[in-house]
Amino acid sequence: MKNRSLSFWLFLTPTLVALALVVFIPMLEGLFYSFTDWDGLSFTKMVGFKNYITLLQDKAFVNAFWFTVAFVIVTVILLNVIGLGLALLVTQKFKGSNFLRAIFFMPNMIGGLILGFIWQFIFTQGFDALGSALHLSWLQNWLTNETTGFWGLVIVTVWQMSGYIMIIYIAYLQNIPNEVIEAAEIDGASPWQRFTKITFPMIAPAFTVCMFLTLSNGFKIYDQNLSLTNGGPYNSTQMLAMDIVNTAYNASNFSLAEAKAMVFFLIVAAISLVQVLYNRRREVDL
């Protein structure tokens, strides 16, 4: 198709218009408003970097940032360990392995909002009952403080996303030729040696994919946060995405929310760009 042909542009029009109106124009407006005193409808003056300075001194934002960072570190590790573990488990040949695979993936089909409600019941009612039956006090009063809120969010995320990560690892595991494993077996390699010397190096690309996926998903989590703890108690479990939404729609501080949203963009985009650069370098190495 030629650049100047009418059909070339007609084929592209719907998506280009949607992309511009839905993503790029609002993004540029947001960037502009973050330097003003915008109240959601209009602005009176430019304020320079005032909103960005306020943001650095905003306790809620700083707390949300560190809470999110801690959450991301823990979930990236757990999701990859458990996801890979499940993948290794269901790729063994035994009766019911396909059924198990289906079960592990199932939570991924349900939205974060409803998952949060499901686990709110389990943490507050189920754990409490188990705790008093087994006399384990650490199982009681979940979600009433920052620590249990944090681990609650971690558990929900791990339960939801492990199956997804598992699916990706499976795709790479199935690419390992059977002969390689068999040859190692004949040569007398133990299962542990086969895993560390053959399987693991061969699924290294899967590790990169999964790590960046869990990294950027972790930063963007909102729904689970809303329905499980709603940021409480006292905003102690509020993550970055939720802090932005609340700054805008609860506190009506729209220009500050925009500044936060731009910082949020920089964080998320940086992760993705690092991934792209990393992949490119690896491809060159190959």
Binding site: F11, K95, L113
Partner: protein, 270 residues
């Protein structure tokens, strides 16, 4: 020896599987209990069992209405995304110029922008032209989700030889006919993937529709959020509501599992 280790693995697998299903067990069993029953024991089976919770939450959730809204919004948005992104991908893939390379980069770079970074001006703009409703929402989904879809279609299109287009052109077909009659049908496997990925994302989405939809057009997650706020501490009703809202998803999963797993793998790995 080999046999025994397989048995051990199967047992370990079964135990982890049960652990994974435990939340579903908790929700399903407790949704049939009376408030007293839940208070007495959350871990036991319902005794006596009651279906009242379902009758009540079905009404309170306006389940038929919210299910219909969810279906309309998901199906229309996904169709819109499939048609528009495959068209765009076709134009970009069959045009080898700096321009099309630049446009593709533009689409891909939009994937770097998180939703929270655009939501405030976006809803303000659409509110200004009275498009905060399900039609506006469908258009927004096209904007947010077309990039990944174009990217996926682009990859598949490069494996469809240009000779296909040329053969059709020789027989007198114009661009649109070539695209709709020849190319689009050949993209079917990728269309399934694009559809699955978008269905899951749109069906479960909460934040965007909560900012856009008027109450009459509430989808299941939105209705669920309101419902939950109304019935906090009334777990018997809340759990029946949760179960109701999970059922359509599980049915879809059972029905389309094979394609879902393939679609999710394609979407993540490509």
């Amino acid at each position: 020896m080999k046999k025994r280790s397989t048995t051990v693995i199967a047992i370990v697998g079964a135990l982890i599987g049960l652990l994974w299903l435990f939340p579903f067990y908790m929700i399903a069993t407790n949704s049939f209990k009376t408030p007293k029953g839940i208070f007495a024991s959350v871990l036991s089976l319902p005794h006596p069992a009651t279906g009242d919770n379902y009758v009540n939450s079905f009404k309170a959730l306006s389940f038929v209405g919210s299910l219909t809204n969810s279906l309309i919004i998901t199906i229309c948005s996904v169709l819109l995304i499939i048609i528009c992104s495959s068209m765009a991908a076709y134009a970009l893939q069959r045009n080898h110029s700096k321009l099309s390379g630049g446009l593709l980069l533009l689409f891909i770079s939009s994937m770097l922008i998180p939703f929270q970074s655009v939501m405030i001006p976006l809803t303000a703009n659409f509110g200004g032209v009275h498009m905060l409703n399900m039609w506006g929402l469908m258009f927004m989904y096209l904007g947010f989700d077309c990039s990944l879809s174009i990217f996926l279609y682009q990859g598949t299109l490069s494996s469809i030889p240009l000779a296909m287009d040329e053969a059709a052109e020789m027989e007198g077909a114009n661009r649109w006919q070539i695209y709709f009659k020849v190319i689009l049908p050949m993209l079917n496997p990728m269309t399934v993937t694009v559809a699955i990925l978008n269905i899951i994302a749109i069906w479960n989405d909460y934040l965007l529709p909560s900012l856009v939809l008027p109450q009459i057009q509430y989808t299941i997650p939105l209705q669920m959020f309101n419902f939950f706020g109304e019935f906090t501490k009334q777990w018997h009703l809340a759990l029946a509501g949760i179960t109701l809202s999970v059922i359509p998803v599980i049915l879809f999963y059972l029905f389309a599992q094979k394609w879902i797993i393939k679609g999710v793998t394609d979407g993540a790995v490509k």
